[in-house]
Symmetry: D2
Subunit: 325 residues, 4 copies
């Protein structure tokens, strides 16, 4: 049994990690931490009752058991960078899976691997420090990597990406205030979302520094869970059978399904699955990716990386049904 801890377990990312890890057949959650410790986990997350007797411990590396095999971090962006060195000093044998953006780009020299399994499967088998992609980045990379990697480099990629409110985390804010959000559709951070950096980093690697420009328009919807990324890949000339790139690229990937009808984000809710849809209109290849931002875009992808890291099948403990309706 893999001995694991969730560091920062009170938010949505932490809750989702616990939901998945408590059901994982080869892993035992030994510890869960919070900056507001002392409460039972199933008091903070009543949906987990009957599954755990854990009590939240302080988010202090000193409380971690040195023999831990795996530590998941679900901290606000910016907090992981400060605490990871102390965690690694305390638990030198542990593999670390970080959900924040702190180590996603520019930290390869320190041994960090970008936790995008469909592209980095081999590296993740060896990795002891894994920086898990952001939710938008996950959806957009799933939708674009085959086109970037397999065909001519596109002239440009336009991404019209919609997200549910849980992607903003568990802290209330004006943008997630229920009266304001319930009947809203609104773009934000137009052409300036922070996930552009990690997407570009992958694309640069795949094109030897020749990545196409990205025009990203994120949008808030009344969904709670889900990302629906419509990616318009524009080539100089109509490509020949782009869907074939996707079939080939994702043949070994248990979580990616190429669908014949446009996907519905409801059908992946609660799962690590990604539904992809590919359609061509002359030089424009539309690829739609539908994922659950908290699972495939966060906690589930981290568990998928852990499975690879511990030599298990990629989908161990992650073959979950969606909650529909």
């Amino acid at each position: 049994m893999i001995r694991a801890a969730v560091y920062g377990a009170a938010g949505y990312g932490g809750a989702e990690l616990l939901r998945l890890l408590l059901l994982h057949p080869d892993l035992e959650v030994r510890q869960a931490t919070s900056r507001d410790p002392g409460r039972a986990v199933d008091q903070v997350h009543p949906g987990l009752r009957g599954l755990t007797d854990l009590v939240l411990e302080p988010s202090d590396p000193e409380v971690l058991a040195p023999e831990l095999d795996a530590i998941f971090l679900a901290l606000p962006h910016g907090e992981s960078a400060a605490v990871v060195p102390r965690i690694l000093a305390r638990c030198p044998g542990a593999r670390v899976y970080d959900l924040a953006q702190d180590f996603r780009t520019g930290h390869e020299a320190e041994g960090w691997v970008y936790g995008f399994p469909e592209l980095n499967r081999d590296a993740l088998g060896e990795a002891t420090r894994v920086a898990c992609p952001g939710c938008f980045a996950t959806a957009i990379l799933l939708a674009t990597v085959p086109a970037i990697a397999c065909g001519d480099v596109p002239l440009r990629v336009i991404v019209d990406a919609k997200t549910g409110s849980s992607g903003s985390g568990s802290t209330p804010s004006a943008g997630t205030h229920h009266p304001a959000r319930a009947a809203t559709h609104r773009a934000y951070k137009v052409f300036g979302h922070q996930h552009e950096t990690e997407i570009a980093a992958v694309w640069e690697r795949l094109t030897a520094g020749n990545a196409p420009p990205l025009s990203l328009v994120p949008q808030s919807t009344p969904l709670v869970r889900g990302i629906y990324a419509c990616c318009y890949v524009i080539h100089a000339a109509p490509p020949t059978d782009p869907a074939a790139w996707y079939r080939r690229f994702y043949a070994p990937s248990p979580f990616v399904r190429l669908v014949e009808e446009p996907p519905n984000v409801l059908n992946v809710r609660g799962t690590n699955n990604a539904d992809l849809y590919v359609r061509q209109d002359g030089p424009v290849t539309l690829v739609i990716a539908a994922i659950d931002n908290l699972v495939r875009g966060a906690a589930g992808q981290a568990v998928q990386c852990l499975n690879l890291g511990f030599g298990m099948p990629e989908d161990r403990g992650l073959r979950l049904p969606a909650l529909v309706p």
Copy 2:
């Protein structure tokens, strides 16, 4: 033209007052204030664009024009009490309509009238200081006053009352965080809601101090607008035709409709209407009241009181269609 001001115009109550007052044919909104002044009203409330050029002024009585005829206050509970004396000193000729709970009970000696028009129509014609009822209190009083006033005093009244999220105001909080609220149904303040006091005060008056006990169970729903109060009035013996009490009591009331089918809160959205449904099951008389908490439960009722105070028809400027669907 009545010269009016909205004091505290940036929140939901203030926005709704402006929505109604800007359309009122006999009134002109001269001023609107906020603790965060300087912005155009239609920038803070983009839904009002094309209807006003007002700019928010500071919430300081000194900015008010002394010749104002009517001042509406839409401040957080507790703030009205401090500022009203200064406002009255500044604008001695103005009638004041306060949406907060500060003056609803215990301030009759200072001249405050409870702004429940269906009961206090005559007093409101004279009143210069009006304390408008809370949203739950409005729905529950509409549903129970005829039974309390017309029949034998009931043994007890049980109220199962549901509210949309806008009733909590425009400040984000854990209970109105979209991911948490969107699929929620949850009771709160069981047998202990602050509106019980003002309901009891009315009932005591109607029964000469012999009011029945009230068991009130407020509940949060995923609605944005709306209160749906199911009131179970329990008599010692089955009353004879309680629906007749309601037909008689509300005969002169343009906003109250007695419906034959159970009401749907959607059908009063955006309006000052109250749909009431009366059904008897032995000694239990069920009365359901459906209102829009921001209109009939707040801003619209205040305008209704103003209409009475200025000698206009009660529904002047308030004959609005609901927004359906």
Copy 3:
């Protein structure tokens, strides 16, 4: 391994049965039927992909394998009665779990047991024909059986019960049309819901024919999943510590949790759990029950009955986390 079939697998009840049964460690789903057969199960229910290769067969008893051990029926009300004799003739060794209302009352002589495990645990161990309770009945019985069974017989029980839209099934109708339902709160079948019969039947048994009158007011909310039943049990005199009745009655029940704060229906979403809250106000005992109508109110309860019938722990395969948020 228990060999099971789902008869009528294309609707919401059938989908939920499959979601639970496909994860059950001691059971294998051998067959699934539909009146529109020929499609893969995971095409009809895309949320189940990766979990099953089943193809829908015709809903004809002749297609069932005679050696089946358990058959679940998820048919429209009225259709079970016609087909069950033919199913039993075809599969004489199978236990039958029916989700419709056809056999819930008046069929005890034919061997039907009412599938309410917390009350009928022993009988369900022997039962080969189980009529599973309706969703409202489940919530209301969970909330009232201890009060009916343990204390003096109440004078009356008032139930204010709210349901999500999935309780109406997968067939579109005016009441579940999205534009009409999304901002709705509306009562229906006031004092006349069909579940009153099965509730009364249980109460009559517990009181030796002296059951209290029930005033039931069902209500439609914008929830998709969930029942939130507020039950007001009215005694002649204030009972002494009614919460103790509930603690005692549900001590052996793994799915019932007595909560200190009012429950939130979101916290049981996707699970077989029931959260109960007990509060007293003089002679009125409020008991709130929050359940997921498709799990505890339908498919999950049926699996719970099967577990008892096959000598397994009641919660075998049913210890599920809620999907929150």
Copy 4:
């Protein structure tokens, strides 16, 4: 007073026409028809109570008063074509405003004018037969006409357009079943929506037959009201200040607002306003249009056309506040 009738008044388009027309100061609704006649209008549309005593008449041209000045048709697509000749024969002096798609393209020779006021203002002043645009077409034309008309002809236009459920009308269907729609985001009719034809017809006219190709991806969201069209206009070279085209083109248009921040569809709910946002990213010009599909995308636009046709200010009776939140 203009004497008007609404033909087909029981659906969402008819209800919205009535909501607007009953408030119009220069128009009187004389008749309203339905294929299910005999009921009071405010019984079918309870949100209109207090505003009208009309009773639905049969949808038969013979019931129309010959002296009507204006007739609005809100029939299912395909039904207008059959009935319009009979209506015109019955009421030869009436101007006709049709909300269906029957006459939008290919009927210019019969005198039909496309009811898009910002482009056809002069023609609408004379028109007696007006075919009002579809909701998607309205949003997309508002967002693209200035770019098509003012700059070089683009290479291509990609439109990622989202719609609320009310756009599907008042008849229940699988796609608008509440449990299925409430947490859905799903594309449909990809590259094949029926509104492409009317958009192309306008573009062809503006470019003398040289219109750019359109790649349109319609999407269903959990909104009830609203269209949010993100239009990516791709030029061969980065255009110079495309926002200036929009400022110039819409200078005389009271309903179009160019906003500095990305629009929120909530802020136009219930109004005839269109919020437009223009941003450039090299050769890509993003234009977002946010409208209410039932007002600006249907009934409101028809009233706007009527105002022009009867020589009134374009916004007569249409200066409405949005319902927020």
